[in-house]
């Protein structure tokens, strides 16, 4: 019984963590520019900065 409790809390915690990460990424504007994000991954890092 206690092991079920631990497992429940663990799985819910993981799920809630994922949800929190998603909400954070939404809030920080990471879904505002999907086209740009697809291209940015191909940019070379700026050597001077």
């Amino acid at each position: 019984m206690t092991s079920i409790l631990y497992l429940l809390l663990l799985s819910l915690g993981l799920g809630a963590g994922g949800l929190a990460l998603f909400l954070w990424s939404l809030r920080s504007g990471q879904y505002d520019d999907m086209d740009g994000a697809a291209n940015r991954i191909l940019f070379d890092d700026d050597p001077k900065k």
Partner: protein
């Protein structure tokens, strides 16, 4: 548009191989042996190489359909109006970018800005094509920062975020957050439910799992379901019903029952059905919202890029650039060559000719002298003019048009979208069905209250218009994005459905059926044309632009001198070459010609005349024929003189035309058609068309149209062709047929499943599974539109 960008990074050669024929920087033709087409491009190349950003040229891919990155004489904007200063002392500015070609352009702009020490943040949004600039120091530094980007060949226009946009974005984020919460809850509750259904546990464990499910599901349902509950309540308060009413009742009923079961320690709860339902419905909402948001954002971008600032003359003789709204009656404004007049007013000083085609529909230029009344939207073809703005009373043409637009839009009435029309009949039927089921089992059959409620709830879930709610938005998103990729912007979310019903198309002539710029008449000497175009390439004068587009790609000559109001000259070893008015080219006594013309004078050769007149768009006749083949009635209503209307009508093959119609008569003509019960698509560009655009069932404008017309039109299309009109109607019809298939699919599924649910053979979790599969089926069917459109 940006779809090809990823591929572009792999094609690294191109530029170097073609360097002898095209400009290294902008890709436009250059004189043979030269590396650049113009000094502006050379400077831009130097700047980029100087900053060590030369790999831009290896990574980029130029799209010929977009504006080439050739630096142009900078327009001056009243930037201070759009700059906001934040509490922390940093300044912020949003700009719309024209000429963004691919991901490499984003990289270039951001890298250049990153090298400016004052810039705190310079980030390009590729989806909305906007640049957000944050910098330290003085607010006026914006001029220098913007000029630096403009020298690279991009056009930047200050952009003000409207309150409506902000509200729209907030709603979108709220829906997406709801979707995330519902997804999280659905996943976890379903996980627990699998354990419960598989059985083999004691009542204590089952109760624990039920309680955990309830704890996850209840807050999620309140949060994610709020958009539906709010909309259902609003509808009920007004005595109406909508799709959200059965959804809300179903969700609340199932949740309440499950909660009662949990408290009572019962065997079954159905939290998973309720949250899964909300999850699927929210997908539909998010898609729907995205389609509307995208349409509106692109329309805003367009209007921003087309806006013009006005040069207001100060008492001390200097000029200040101001936004059109900021000009007061009585201000004196300066209108340069090739500039659009931004206000209604009277000419104070200067003699010139004006292109009023956007305002009156007249294709030929009209003369302007002190005392002439001029209207906003008119193009100055000649020498600079000083115009005094007239009081913004109700007498101005713009005010008159706005009044007509308001009247026409009020008359159009509210268009009821397909999904709502279905829902209006569907919702009451569902409620009656569920209630009858409950009464049958409880009263007539004598089943227990719990069993009767359960059966009624499964009827509600089975009939829940989940697939119905996805059926239309999914198709809309796919059709809208597909049209967007071919340069057609749907500004109104219901435009697609209205377009599919169109049976009559009414065209305006000037600027719609004909090219927005005057075309070259006759077949002039090819060598002379090339020389003339090489001079004209460095001018912004409308006739010079027409000449260049007629000549095709020709390298621009260097060191061309522009004489405002007269023409262009170029000093060569043999003597001076001149391009311009007849008087400027050596025939001072000549009378003004009836049609616009340019003369080319070369040393030792007789002067050559280039005559201009309006010409139909290249594909106008083909489009009219195609529309006729689609069984649509095509008409032409114009404000221009009868002879030129007749000529164009004959050229493109329209038998039914009307000429010399004032804006009021145009509206009357469109309304007469609507009164006959026809569904009219109006295609027009002028200020004089704006009221009839509003009066028609649905309307379209080219991007060369007047601001007012673009604001009123449901659809705006880019490019110099009319082809988008047929593409638009064809896509709308295909989309309508897919929407209907989707509705049939989801209703057919209900017809099949409801008898089973009424008979009590379907448990709620089975209903939820069946519901999900019907949603997926509808989505899959919608994607067929994309597959077919590509193939």
């Amino acid at each position: 548009m940006s779809v090809t960008a990823a591929g572009g990074f792999s094609s690294t050669t191109g530029v170097a191989a073609a360097a002898d024929a095209t400009c290294i920087h902008c890709g436009l033709p250059a004189a043979s042996g030269r590396r650049f087409c113009c000094p502006g491009c050379a400077a831009a190349y130097e700047t980029i190489q100087g900053l060590g950003l030369g790999q831009y040229y290896e990574q980029r891919v130029l799209d010929a359909a977009l504006r080439a990155p050739r630096p142009e004489p900078a327009e001056r904007w009243d930037l201070a109006r759009s700059v906001t200063t934040r509490p922390d002392g940093l300044h912020e500015l949003s700009l719309a970018i024209d000429g963004l070609q691919c991901g490499a352009c984003v990289w270039l702009i951001e890298s250049v800005l990153a090298r400016e020490p004052a810039v705190a943040q310079g980030r390009v949004n590729m989806t909305t094509r906007r640049l957000r600039l944050v910098w330290r120091g003085a607010a006026a530094d914006a001029e220098a920062l913007v000029a630096g980007i403009e020298r690279l060949g991009y056009r930047l226009v200050p952009f003000t975020v409207g309150a409506l946009t902000a509200a729209q974005d907030a709603t979108g984020r709220r829906l997406l957050r709801g979707l995330a919460v519902a997804g999280f809850a659905a996943g976890n509750v379903m996980f627990l439910s699998i354990g419960i259904w598989s059985g083999g546990m004691g009542p204590a464990t089952r109760d624990l799992l039920h309680w955990v499910s309830a704890l996850i599901a209840m807050p999620a349902i309140v949060y994610a379901g709020w958009p539906f509950f709010a909309s259902a309540l609003a509808a009920l308060r007004q005595g109406r019903t909508n799709m959200d009413v059965p959804i809300s009742i179903g969700v609340v009923l199932v949740t309440g029952m499950s909660l009662a079961e949990t408290i009572a320690g019962g065997a079954h709860t159905y939290f998973d059905s309720a949250v899964a339902l909300l999850f699927f419905l929210l997908i539909g909402r998010v898609l729907d919202h995205r389609a509307r948001g995208q349409a509106r954002a692109t329309a805003e971008q367009l209007l921003t890029l087309n806006a013009t600032d006005v040069a207001v003359l100060q008492p001390d003789g200097s000029t200040v650039r101001r936004g059109q709204q900021a000009v007061a009656p009585g201000d004196v404004i300066l209108v340069g060559l090739g500039e659009r007049i931004g206000v209604d007013g009277t000419v104070e000083r200067g003699v010139s000719s004006l292109d009023a085609s956007l305002v009156t529909g007249e294709s030929l230029p009209m003369p302007a002298a002190p005392g002439t009344q001029v209207f906003a939207g008119t193009l100055n073809l000649g020498a600079p003019l000083t115009v005094r703005a007239v009081a913004t009373g109700n007498a101005t043409l713009l005010a008159e048009c706005v009044r007509l637009i308001e009247v026409a839009e009020a008359r159009r009435g509210r268009f009821v979208v397909l999904a709502d029309r279905v829902a209006r009949r569907y919702a009451p039927a569902v409620h009656v069905c569920a209630l009858a089921t409950f009464l049958f089992w409880y009263v007539a059959w004598g089943a227990s209250l719990e069993a009767s409620l359960l059966t009624a709830a499964s009827v509600l879930i089975i009939t829940c218009p989940c697939a119905l709610a996805l059926a239309v938005p999914a198709v809309q998103v796919i059709a809208t994005s597909r049209l967007f990729q071919s340069g057609i912007l749907l500004k109104s979310a219901t435009a697609l459905e209205r377009l599919a019903e169109v049976d009559t198309v009414v065209f305006d002539k000037t600027g719609t059926l004909t090219e927005p710029v005057l075309g070259l008449q006759g077949a002039p000497d090819a060598a002379a044309l090339r020389v003339a175009a090489s001079l004209a390439a460095s001018s912004r004068h409308p006739l010079a632009r027409s000449l260049c587009s007629a000549a095709g790609p020709v390298p621009a000559a260097e060191d061309v001198v522009e004489h405002p109001g007269e023409g262009l000259s170029l000093a060569t070893e043999l003597g001076e070459i001149r391009l311009g008015s007849r008087a400027f080219c050596g025939d001072p006594g000549a009378p003004a010609a009836a049609t616009p013309e340019l003369w080319l004078a070369r040393p030792g050769v007789p002067a050559v005349r280039f005559a201009f007149d309006e010409s139909p768009r290249a594909d106008a006749a083909a489009v009219v024929a195609r529309l006729a083949a689609m069984r649509l009635a095509v008409r032409l209503v114009s404000g221009d003189r009868a002879e030129s209307v007749a000529r164009v009508a004959a050229a493109v093959g329209i038998a039914d035309w009307q000429a010399a119609r004032s804006p009021v008569e145009k509206v009357a003509a469109v309304e007469a058609l609507v009164a006959e019960g026809r569904k009219v698509l109006m295609v027009g560009d002028g200020l004089n068309d704006a009221p009839s655009l509003a009066a028609a069932s649905v309307s379209a404008s080219p991007t060369s149209a007047a601001d007012v017309s673009q604001t009123v039109a449901d659809v705006v299309f880019q490019g110099s062709r009319l082809g988008p009109v047929t593409a638009l109607l064809e896509t709308a019809r295909r989309a309508r047929s897919v929407m209907r298939q989707n509705l049939c699919l989801s209703i057919g599924y209900n017809v099949l499943m409801v008898p089973l649910a009424v008979a009590g053979l379907v448990t709620p979790w089975l209903a939820a599974a069946a519901m999900s599969s019907s949603s997926l089926l509808v989505m899959a069917n919608s994607f067929r539109l994309r597959a077919r459109a590509r193939g």
